[in-house]
């Protein structure tokens, strides 16, 4: 079951740029779909999410743990089975995700949190 997909939900073009960066680094395409909230009210963003997810399962990678991207994603996950949400998306968690998609959405979201957190460091002077 390597068909678990990732949807990146962000302000402006952050999601698009992250998808491009993952493709440039790994050569893997099609695992991630970008969704921007640009110009969207709640209904339009819900529609964009629905179009992007298609028939799940999927993990929604959201930029911030609050705001329109987050509220729409959390609402979507509540209304649909097989959808998990993780916030604070970064490149490290996406790179880990595209190579580990044979798990449930919940497992993938937890794994993403772990991989994403580990990438945040302050380098020694």
């Amino acid at each position: 079951m390597s068909d678990l997909r990732g949807i990146i939900v962000s302000h402006a073009a952050v999601a698009q740029a992250l998808v491009a960066a993952v493709a440039a680094i790994t050569g893997i395409e099609g695992a991630l779909t970008p969704v921007s909230n640009e110009g969207c009210g709640t209904e339009a963003l819900a529609q964009r999410l629905s179009d992007a997810v298609g028939r799940g399962p999927a993990v929604l990678f959201v930029d911030l743990p609050g705001g329109s991207c987050f509220t729409s994603s959390a609402r979507y996950a509540k209304q649909h089975a097989d959808i998990a949400v993780v916030t604070g998306v970064n490149l490290a968690m996406l790179l880990d995700f595209v190579f580990h998609r044979d798990v449930t959405p919940d497992e993938a979201a937890r794994r993403a949190m772990d991989a994403g957190s580990k990438a945040i460091r302050v380098t020694a002077a």
Partner: protein, 157 residues
Amino acid sequence: MTLALYRIDDRLIHGQVVVGWGHPLNVTFIVLVDDEVRSSDWEQDLYRMGVPPSIEVRFASVDEAARELSAWEADPRVGILLVGDIDTAVALAERAPQVRRFNVGGVHHRTGRTERLRFVYLSEDEARKLRALAARGVEVTAQDVPTARAVPVGEFT
């Protein structure tokens, strides 16, 4: 200080409100006026997330807001009042004549609406309601972030 901003925004609490307006205005409380959100603990938890602990979030129905408005206006702190649509703004202004202004911050595309500004789409009916609100003495302007120009109601309805 007082309620520094009365805002119509269909995204309700989000980055432009908390960060864009919240920082420069030094906001320490947000009142979200929406009958639906008021009746759902789950929705309230959702909107509370992402708001820093230094900002208090209150939820009110239109009726509750009309009753509490004077107290919020008298609050020594600075706050923002949010509604999600034009009907709620009109309902509140009708019940609470203390409402002197509304900022249209985000009303997005939906069937039946046409583009008025990049962040404002209105049906004819909604445009008429905003003009009527302005005719009653409420200052209605459109402005997404504080650094943008406040567009007078006559320019986008």
